[in-house]
Every structure is written in C-alpha cells, then in structure tokens.
Amino acid sequence: MTRRHGAVDSAAGLTPFGHLGWSYRDRGEFFSRAAEYIADGLARDQWVEYVGAGDHTSLRAELAELPGLADVSGVKVSAVPQFYGVPPGGDVVDPEIAVATQVAAVHEALRQGYSGFRAVVDATSMSERPHQRDALSCFEFLVDRQMAVFPMSALCAFDVSRLGSDAAALACLHPLVGEDSAPFQLYAEPGVQFTLAGEVDSACADTFTTALGRIWPLISGREVTVDARGLAYIGHRQLLELDRRARSDRSRVVLRTGQPILIRLAGLLNLTNVRVVAADRHDGGDSPVGTVAGR
C-alpha cells in the first residue's frame, strides 16, 4: 500500500503521478478537474494528452477554453478511439491492445525527453453499454498495473448524467477517486494481486460485485493476495461475496489487514476461501505513505 489512494476533491497536486477516476455531473466540473490535472503535468514537463469524444478541432477548442491554463500548445489532443488503439468505427476497447498502445506512448514520451506521461480522458463514450464497460474495466485494471511501476498516469472521467450508477464501477478501479465517485478503490500494487481501500458496504454492494467480477478473470494464480490495509470498512455480505468468488474458481484469497475486527469478522463468517491475516509491518510497510485516504 505505497501508492496514493483515496477520495480527493481536486485533481491538483497528484504529482508526479496519480491515476484518478472522476465521475462528473456537469461539463464545467470536468473542465475544472481537467485543467488542474493538465497544469500539473505541464509544470513537471510531462507529455500531456487531452482525450475526448469529439474530433481534433473540437477537442482543441475545448482545451483552449479550460480555465486557468495559459498555454496549452504543448498538449496533444486525441479522439478516444485513437487513444485506446480502437480501429476506426469501433467503440469497444480491446484491453490488451489499449494497454500496449499506452505503454508505447509512455516510451515515446520518455524517448522525446519528457519526464513522464499523463492524459485526461473523458471515457464516457467507451462506457455507455455493458460490454463496453466490461472491456474498459479490464483495461483500467491492466493499465493500472503499468501505472504502478511506469511514469504514467491518467484522469479518467465518466459522465454520471449518461452512465448513472454504472460510473461508480469504473471509477472504483482507480487508486484515486473524485469525492462521491466511488466509496472504495480496487487498484494495483506491486507484490499483490490487487489492493482494496475505502469503504465497502450495502451502499455499493452492486458496484463491488460488478467490479470484482470484471477484474477477477484477470487475476492469475490459485492464491490471491489482497492488500486491504487501506480498507476502512467492509460489510459481511461483501466479504462473503469475495469468498463466493474465490470458491467459484477454487482460488484462495489472503486478505491482509491492519484491523483486528476484520480478522474477527472472517472467523465468525466461517469463510472457506478467504483468509484474513494481520498485515506485517515489514511487508510493504504499514505506514500509508503518500496516501490521500481520509483527506
């Protein structure tokens, strides 16, 4: 649990990198966050890309109108399909191709002397139908693994007015989320299959089940280690859901936590495929280095 994680009320200051999922309610809110995120990237001499559903001209015009940015000439603009490597006419992300495209872009940025890569992406147009969301979720989970180790990051924005509650199951796949975007975060961390942080209860039961179901096939190995040291709360129904998921493919989950109540709860639930263990202070460190948790 060494990456920044948690809910934030601004996209500013997430430097040098921070993978942020933001569900916005109006375009003005999105533009403000985009401007903050872009400003930090430009200030750190990163390759910055602005990605949206429009064509090159409309995106460039949008970019020029972002509040508080004096010079955006160095920002590249891309249409969403192009950014994800989706062939012309397509509107579903191929996760493997999209990740490869992103990683190639990072290498190119570094080759050109930039200190890293960051993008602002309004991914709503790739998220409007269930199979689009399934695919994009896989991409988010896979690319977050790269972001945990490469100098790259993105602000991924989702329009709640079009996606409704489905936006949360996409936003939660980021270590950083906008306030009210998702109550928990499921993201990558070196050394574990994934990290769970935030609060998981009946308010987000469907979101949790959906997100878990989408990323589960991407997890390899019979033993699934989950870093749950940043998990402030998880309800028993959601622990049972994790157990059911593990039982379904005969894998075993090891949930590492700093909370004695979670160990006690697991014992009371007689979980068969989830083992909750006390986190080792030397196993990645208990100190929430650089976290935004709790704000």
Binding site: E199, H236, I261
Partner: protein, 314 residues
C-alpha cells in the same frame, strides 16, 4: 428424570447451598460420563472450581466453561449449543447456570427469553440439561420465571413437572419496551448511502466516550449491521441512538418493522448462504443484546461493556 428420552430434557435445579448444589450436579455429570455422553458444565467460575473438585477423575471427560464469560451475552449460547449438540455423536449432557446472584440485572430478560426459546428450538435434540438456580440467593420472581421456562423442576433430589410451565407466555412477558436513554444522541439512517456517515457518527461519539480503537470498530460494525437490517427488512428508516450508562456503551436501532422471528440472531447461519448473519454478528460482538418488537416497531439494543460495575441481579 427422563434421561433416556430421545429429545430435550430441560430441568431447573433449585438448590440452597453448596451441599445441595453438589448433591445434584455431581451425580448428574458423573452419570453422563458413565453413559459415554458428552458432558459440558457452564457455570460461574466459583462453581466451576467446586464441581471440578468434586467430580474427581470424571473431570477428565467433562468440558468446563465459565458461564460469566461464555454466557455474557446469553444469545450466543444457542450457536454454541447447536455446535455441541448437532454432531450426531449421541446424547449430550449439559449443566448450564443461566442466572446467579450478582449477575447484571440488565441481562436478566435476555436470559429468561433464552430459557423459554430453548424448549422449542432444541425440542427434538438429544440434550439433557440441568439449569441450577440459587433458591436462597435469587428472589421469588426469578424462581417463578424458572418454573415458567423449564418443564421439569428438581428440588431436594425430587424431579417433578413444573405446574407453571408457560414458555411462550414468558417469552412475550419479557418483550419489554426499550426506550432510548434521555442522554442518547441519535442519527437517522434513511438509505444505504447514509451508512458511511453513520459509522463516522458512531466513531465520533464512541471516541469521545473513551472507547478503545477496537471497541469503536466493533461498534461501527454493530451499528452498520443493525441499520442495514432495518433498511433491508423494513424498507424504512432506522434511528441509531448511542449513550453511555452503568458501565456500558449502548447502541440501539429503532425502526418501524416487526421482528417476527424470536430466534433471529440466535441461530448460527447456514454455510454458503448470505442472509441471516446481521444479528448473529451483532450478538457475537456485543456483550448483551436486548430486543423489543411490536406492531409499532422494533428496537434492538446492543451493549458493549466498559468493564465497570453494573446493577446486579438478586
């Protein structure tokens, strides 16, 4: 005593002094050991010492437990009872002293309800239970309740039918209204989205009352489970009330629903099912859980002991 009967034998022992206690309990447990039955003794610590010393070599075949600890929350007894009795390994013999002079008075209604529910819950189970009551130290009302919740009464070595056995009526009589304490602070949970704020409210209140980090986490889980249950089963709002009194920190949930299942939270949940665990967990974490239900609504009150003295039963 119908010791060879197939189902439950539930006897209240009224004793006066150690001698009468041992004269009844020791032969009871020795007989169980001799018959090859599994024997459990759950009584207060002073009686444990007494019985263990008196049974001699037979003690090796008996599981002894301090009732003040395992029975602190009486509702936890049923899952434990299920665990020992549901193993298909023959008859089980139990000495269980549910109340004693000095036991917290606030716990008493839950103890009576437990004894009343025991009759129907385990009616067909191969259990022979002897529940000692200190007839010299407990008041007449307690002994009357024992007669109402036990089909058999043993006194002066004589076992007879209880003429006053009325377990359902007694269960209803101890369905006592639970008005929140006047000092309570409250938080209304209207939707699942309020649960996070409810936990923050619980953390603030319990931290200012000096609860440990572990106790605060317990209380947050208790409050979340109670409120979630209310929202799920009544569809209406739940009012959480918190207060501190007489050595306990209390969390009460009030809603507009009626709780029809008196065993809710008392039975161990079935494996691989997701429902029916909320109140079970509350009982597992809390030192005492009291319930009142009626057409007007349900109140569930969970106590976390702060380790201070509470009003004692006489």
């Amino acid at each position: 005593m119908a010791e060879d009967a197939g189902g439950l034998v539930h006897t209240a022992l009224f004793y006066r002094g150690e001698s009468e206690y041992l004269d009844a309990v020791v032969p009871f447990v020795r007989d169980g050991v001799d018959r090859g039955e599994r024997v459990f003794v759950a009584v207060p610590a002073d009686k444990l010492t007494l019985v263990r010393g008196a049974v001699g070599h037979a003690a090796a075949g008996i599981a002894f437990t301090d009732m003040a600890k395992v029975g602190r929350n009486p509702a936890r007894g049923f899952p434990m009872m299920s665990a020992v009795g549901d193993q298909g390994a023959g008859r089980v013999r139990i000495v269980a002293e549910p109340v004693w002079p000095g036991r917290c008075a606030e716990t008493y209604p839950a103890c009576v309800q437990n004894e009343a529910l025991f009759n129907t819950t385990f009616a067909s189970w191969p259990l022979t239970t002897l529940c000692p009551y200190d007839a010299a130290g407990l008041d007449d009302g307690v002994l009357a309740d024992a007669r109402a919740t036990h089909p058999l009464i043993q006194q002066n070595s004589i076992v007879s039918d209880s003429g006053d056995f009325a377990s359902w009526e007694t269960l209803a009589r101890y369905n006592i209204p639970l008005p929140p304490d006047p000092s309570a602070v409250t938080f209304t949970v209207r939707t699942f989205e309020d649960l996070s704020a409810a936990r923050a409210f619980v953390a603030r209140c319990s931290a200012s009352a000096g609860l440990s980090v572990e106790a605060i986490a317990d209380l947050q889980l208790i409050a979340t489970e109670l409120a979630t249950n209310s929202l799920e089963y009544t569809g209406g709002a739940c009012t959480l009330a918190l207060w501190q009194r007489d050595g306990a920190f209390v969390c009460q949930a009030d809603d507009a629903g009626r709780l029809d299942d008196p065993l809710a939270g008392r039975r161990a949940p079935a494996c691989h099912t997701t429902g029916g665990r909320g109140l079970f967990l509350v009982n597992a974490l809390a030192d005492l859980v009291r319930t009142h239900t009626s057409e007007a609504g349900t109140a569930i009150r969970a106590y976390l002991s702060l380790g201070c003295e509470q009003e004692a039963l006489t």
